[in-house]
């Protein structure tokens, strides 16, 4: 028997490989040395050494979101685990499947304030979908297999497995975990047929219908995207997508009204406000989307399809709720729709489209361009023109540039767009781009960044250099924390408290110091050439694109306002924000 016994650390590697993991993002330390020793002695699993554990998690998120697979992270105990917390919270908010292995001090020292000890399961309990502390070596393989099952099934999310060092060094027999069956966790994927019938009934009677879909479609997989596209075209209804849902429906299709929400298009938000039947599939009525709840789509019957029952009736009470996986429910919806003879009144639908086209005619994403100074929207539009038709993946940091990227870069397919939606984590974009580039070595991966955000995880340029990853970092540099500045202008009387990016580094020299290429664009005339060079230069490239410092992101629903109270541009008069609005973020 003894010959079949391997260490806990060896079980970890075998379990990862058996789960189909080919790359793990991590950073070594005392408590995980046994795992790193095993890593050293094998070739099935590639390890990407990041420069900060937060980046390991974001990189795994980028990898997971661009592939649909579970991302894997390996960090040490104490600070390794606490540094990972922001990434885990980000993954929880955006439903990204991850398994994060953390080292722990040996079991007999737990609770003694040992060196590099932290109560990792305690700290990560509220920021993971689930977590485990493994206390027996016999449990290592089972727990890791279970962790992958929990991470990827149902509403995906991050799972932490905390591994004390003595467990990693003890010996046991490895157990394969191909078929995990959980005693208490069995998420439902099939929707209730009666409810789906009710939904179809509503849809068939709609006069002003609207699909409102989100990241749940993308998480469900390619089949859901394909079925959604089919169903939207079959019905001829308009569709809007959330920030997380971009790519779930082809942007070039005329049914697509653009993104909705705080910085969404005029037509998408007004259609949300005025629709009579709302078909929400895989979106969660986030506050960035709804605006003032009391005034949110007041006249509509609402259908909500979500795999997570707790997302239903959380913020907005709906009329028909369906718990299930998007692809399964869409399949049933299409089946019922085809079987059914009754169709919406075509005249009503046509006049609804006429209204929408009128709104669309306002061209809410328009901005006043300039010959002398690069407008940030223009920079992103030119970037999009240069990559259109190529095989591209876009990540972003958080702030104005993120919203402009969401508005002006278009996605025809899912898994191409990675942004920190729920948590709004500055510093997400560069490590996420690294993760996406590892997964797609020959594709064009661009981090659309701001000069403030990029500094939050700039050390990862070193990772990009080490693995010769050709990530392109396009910094929309307005020398301000632009979104903070915009809110201070609109809500706080233009008192720009601490939002100026003082003492910025020379990004070109910074890139060179890391072994990357640095480029700069200062005038509109230089822009296209710099973008071309960025794309054509091998290896990592940083572009310092100097843009107008004062530009604000429009359209905008000010906090506490409703969808039909949008600001379309700087010429729109800003009404004083209500007291309730002032407390919102």
């Amino acid at each position: 028997m003894a010959t079949d016994q391997i260490t806990g650390a060896a079980c970890v590697i075998r379990a990862l490989v058996d789960q189909g993991v080919d790359v793990v993002f991590g950073y070594p330390g005392g408590a995980v040395l046994p795992i790193y020793d095993e890593l050293f002695q094998q070739n099935a699993l590639r390890h990407i050494l990041v420069r900060h554990e937060q980046a390991a998690v974001h990189a795994a998120e980028g990898y997971a979101r661009s592939t649909g697979k579970v991302g894997a992270v390996l960090v040490t105990s104490g600070p390794g685990a606490t540094n990972a917390v922001t990434g885990l919270t980000d993954a929880l908010m955006d439903s990204i499947p991850l398994v994060c292995l953390t080292g722990q001090v040996p079991t007999h020292m737990i609770g003694n304030d040992a060196f590099q000890e932290a109560d990792t399961t305690g700290i990560t309990r509220p920021c993971t979908k689930h977590n485990y502390l493994v206390k027996k070596v016999e449990d290592v393989s089972r727990v890791i297999h279970e962790a992958f099952y929990v991470a990827r099934s149902g509403r995906p999310g991050p799972v932490v497995v905390d591994l004390p060092k003595d467990i990693l060094q003890a010996k046991t027999v490895y157990r394969n975990g191909a078929a995990v069956k959980h005693r208490s966790y069995n998420p439902r994927v099939k929707g209730d047929m009666k409810r789906i019938e009710q939904a179809i009934e509503l849809i068939a009677k709609a006069k002003r219908p609207l699909f409102y879909c989100g990241g749940g479609i993308i998480n469900s997989g390619p089949k859901a995207t394909q079925l959604l596209t089919e169903f939207v075209r079959m019905t001829g209804f308009p569709i809007t997508l959330t920030l997380m849902g971009l790519g779930a429906f082809p942007a070039a299709d005329p049914h697509f009204l653009g993104m909705l929400g705080m910085h969404g298009t005029y037509e998408a938000n007004l259609a949300m406000h005025d629709c009579d039947v709302m078909i929400n599939i895989g979106a969660r009525f986030d506050d960035r989307v709804t605006g003032r709840l009391a005034a949110f789509s007041p006249g509509s019957k609402k259908i909500h399809v979500d795999i997570d029952p707790s997302s239903i009736n959380k913020n907005v009470a709906v009329d028909v709720s369906i718990v299930g996986d998007a692809a399964h429910v869409l399949e049933d919806m299409i089946k019922l729709w085809k079987a059914r003879q009754a169709r919406p009144e075509q005249k009503a639908i046509a006049s609804w489209w006429k209204q929408i086209e009128e709104w669309r005619g306002r061209e809410s994403l328009r901005f006043r361009n300039s010959d002398s100074i690069i407008k940030p929207q223009h920079a992103i539009k030119r970037l999009y023109e240069a990559i259109k038709g190529r095989d591209y993946y876009i990540t972003t940091e958080v702030g104005q540039h993120q919203m402009w990227a969401a508005q002006h870069i278009r996605f025809e397919e899912p898994k191409r767009w990675m942004t920190s939606g729920g948590l709004g984590t500055m510093g997400y974009g560069l490590p996420a781009a690294i993760g996406a580039q590892i997964a797609h070595p020959d594709s064009l991966v661009i981090d659309v960044a701001g000069e403030a955000s990029i500094l939050m995880n700039i050390q990862e340029l070193s990772t990009a250099a080490q693995y010769a990853l050709p990530v392109k970092i396009f910094i929309v540099n307005n020398q301000w924390m632009g979104m903070v500045r915009q809110w201070q202008e609109l809500l706080h009387g233009g008192r720009y408290s601490e939002s100026y990016s003082a003492s910025l580094p020379d990004f070109v020299k910074l890139a060179e110091a890391f072994g990357a290429t640095g480029l700069r664009a200062e005038k509109p005339a230089e822009l296209d050439e710099v973008i071309r060079l960025m794309i054509e230069t091998k290896g990592p490239v940083v572009v310092d694109c100097r843009v107008d410092q004062t530009e604000n992101c429009f359209p905008m629903i000010p906090s506490g306002a409703a969808h039909n109270e949008m600001l379309l541009g700087p010429e729109d008069e800003v009404k004083p924000v209500s007291e309730e609005g002032m407390v919102l973020v």
């Binding site: 309990r125 689930h130 502390l133 929990v150 239903i312 009736n313």
Partner: protein
């Protein structure tokens, strides 16, 4: 017709895997999302199957109560969530140990009331009693209030445990 903003009290029974951290998950959920806990009890109820039962008394609008149940249900080690308040008739019991200190007429009076409430004396000195009492929370409150002027010095309560009436399990 209850208004959608009406706050009501619900007794929720939760069958959970008896494993480390499960109570912390439940409590963390309530504190993290700002839900009320009026009382919470937990104990293993099935050692062979490693199951514990948590009874939590909470209050909120209908929408909040639905949220609480959905949020509990999606925790991985939770087997079943049952809202006893809406699922039909059920029993609620609480046990309290109540210490009263005094002598003379007050001491006699506390014993007399204890008798009326069917509280049992489980400890006695010449200047104190510890009463044990089981019943609804309201009954316990009534008794404890009566003991206040008679020398109440200490109370320990279990919190509510509950079970549905009739033959069916949770």
């Amino acid at each position: 017709m209850a208004d959608k903003n009406t706050v009501s009290r619900h007794t929720i029974s939760v069958l959970v895997e008896n494993e480390a951290g499960v109570l912390a998950r439940v409590i963390g959920l309530f504190s993290g999302r700002g839900y009320n806990i009026e009382s919470l009890t937990v104990a293993e109820v099935d050692a062979a199957n490693r199951l514990s039962r948590i009874t939590v008394v909470t209050s909120g609008t209908d929408m909040i109560i639905e949220q609480i149940k959905a949020q509990l249900d999606r925790l991985v080690p939770i087997h079943r969530v049952s809202d006893l308040t809406v699922e039909g008739p059920h029993l609620e019991r609480e046990l309290a140990l109540i210490k009263v200190r005094g002598n003379g007429e007050k001491r006699v009076e506390s014993l007399r009331i204890a008798d009326i409430f069917r509280a049992r004396v489980v400890d006695s000195t010449i200047e104190s009693f510890v009463f044990e009492m089981t019943g609804s929370s309201e009954k316990l409150n009534a008794f404890i209030n009566l003991m206040q002027p008679l020398g109440l010095v200490d109370v320990s309560r279990t919190g509510v445990v509950a079970i549905s009436r009739g033959p069916d399990a949770i």
